[in-house]
Subunit: 206 residues, 2 copies
């Protein structure tokens, strides 16, 4: 099936299935069912079977899914069998947290470069990274071939820095600024805005 | 329409519409269309009209949406006309970032309490908050009536702290730990896991 035929909403669920499956692996489980996986991630078993069937035949009637096999398939589909170098822009609290974040290990990503525009930070060190000057983003990222960036700059600077990232060849931006970004076709943005996650839950509160 | 009749996936899009509408307001726009809103947030105009129609008649054929009116309606639906007190648990980099985060202002939330289990941090200050002892979570949160929490503890501690939050009466947890949490019915979890956002985009990269 052609890449664009699969709805993005399905693609968005695959990493969630993968996280739950890896958690099962860590608990030394070998097989699971769409029912069990569904109750772990809060998605119906029927939806999970339908989502996975887009990519082939992964389970067997009666015996369920081999976890290791499904993990490998999902990693292949999501292209995280390889490790993607990631640039982090903005070395405030959030940028620091990401530079130190242990959750990328073995999930397909590695922080490779960090940037800030503050002269007091440029040339200094965060974890094992020397902080580079935001003005050099285009050159540095182009040279390294980095395609993935995490954006942790203040809202007022976010669009300007995004334009530089796009110019540098970045195709995937994880945006922590509380602001919708404009990007050309072919560039994707995902938002990690805590207010959005909270607002989605308050709807259900009394 | 009863609360549970509206799919959660629709509820999840409302905060995104709201963010885009507020951004338009900041640019002094007064009206918009489902086409314009759709191109801003990357969702089809038809989907937006369908989503909003679940809650009433908000636009007029030909004249589109009054932005201020729609903003107020969405804030009412999402119950963020009021301000929700939020507890932040875990005062590492991420917890610090959240305690200082400016993006909650006017979006329905206010950090009210911060917790950590490190004796070197307990009693100290982060922003204007005195760091409380994680062991006192149940008492402190119960007394304050807080229903919303952000969880920034290491993965290994996340489930244990979640159990305390649930015991304390918390109903909505924004989880930054790279781990699926088990919670009883009636408690909601949203995940802010950067790897999930990144993995959703690498699918489209070459």
């Amino acid at each position: 099936m052609a890449k664009n035929d699969i709805p993005d909403i399905i693609i968005g669920r695959l990493p969630i299935y993968l996280r739950a499956l890896r958690h099962m692996q860590a608990e030394a489980k070998l097989t699971t069912s769409s029912q069990e996986l569904g109750s772990t991630v809060g998605i119906s078993a029927a939806q999970i079977r339908k989502d996975l069937s887009q990519f082939g035949e992964f389970g067997k009637q009666g015996t369920g899914y081999d976890i290791a096999f499904l993990v490998n398939k999902l990693r292949g589909i999501l292209k995280i069998e390889r490790v993607w170098d990631v640039a982090v822009v903005g070395m405030g609290d959030m940028g620091h947290a990401l530079a130190r974040y242990q959750g990328f290990t073995d999930r397909g990503f590695r922080v490779a470069m960090v940037f800030d525009n503050d002269p007091a930070k440029i040339g200094g060190q965060v974890e094992n990274y020397v902080v580079l000057d935001t003005r050099d983003i285009v050159t540095s990222i182009r040279q390294s071939g980095i395609k993935v960036a995490m954006l942790c700059v203040p809202a007022l600077a976010a669009q300007e820095v995004t334009n530089l990232l796009v110019e540098a060849g970045v195709k995937a931006i994880l945006n922590y600024a509380p602001l919708s970004l404009s990007v050309p076709p072919g560039v994707r943005v995902q938002y990690l805005d805590p207010s959005i996650g909270l607002q989605r839950m308050t709807y259900y509160l009394d």
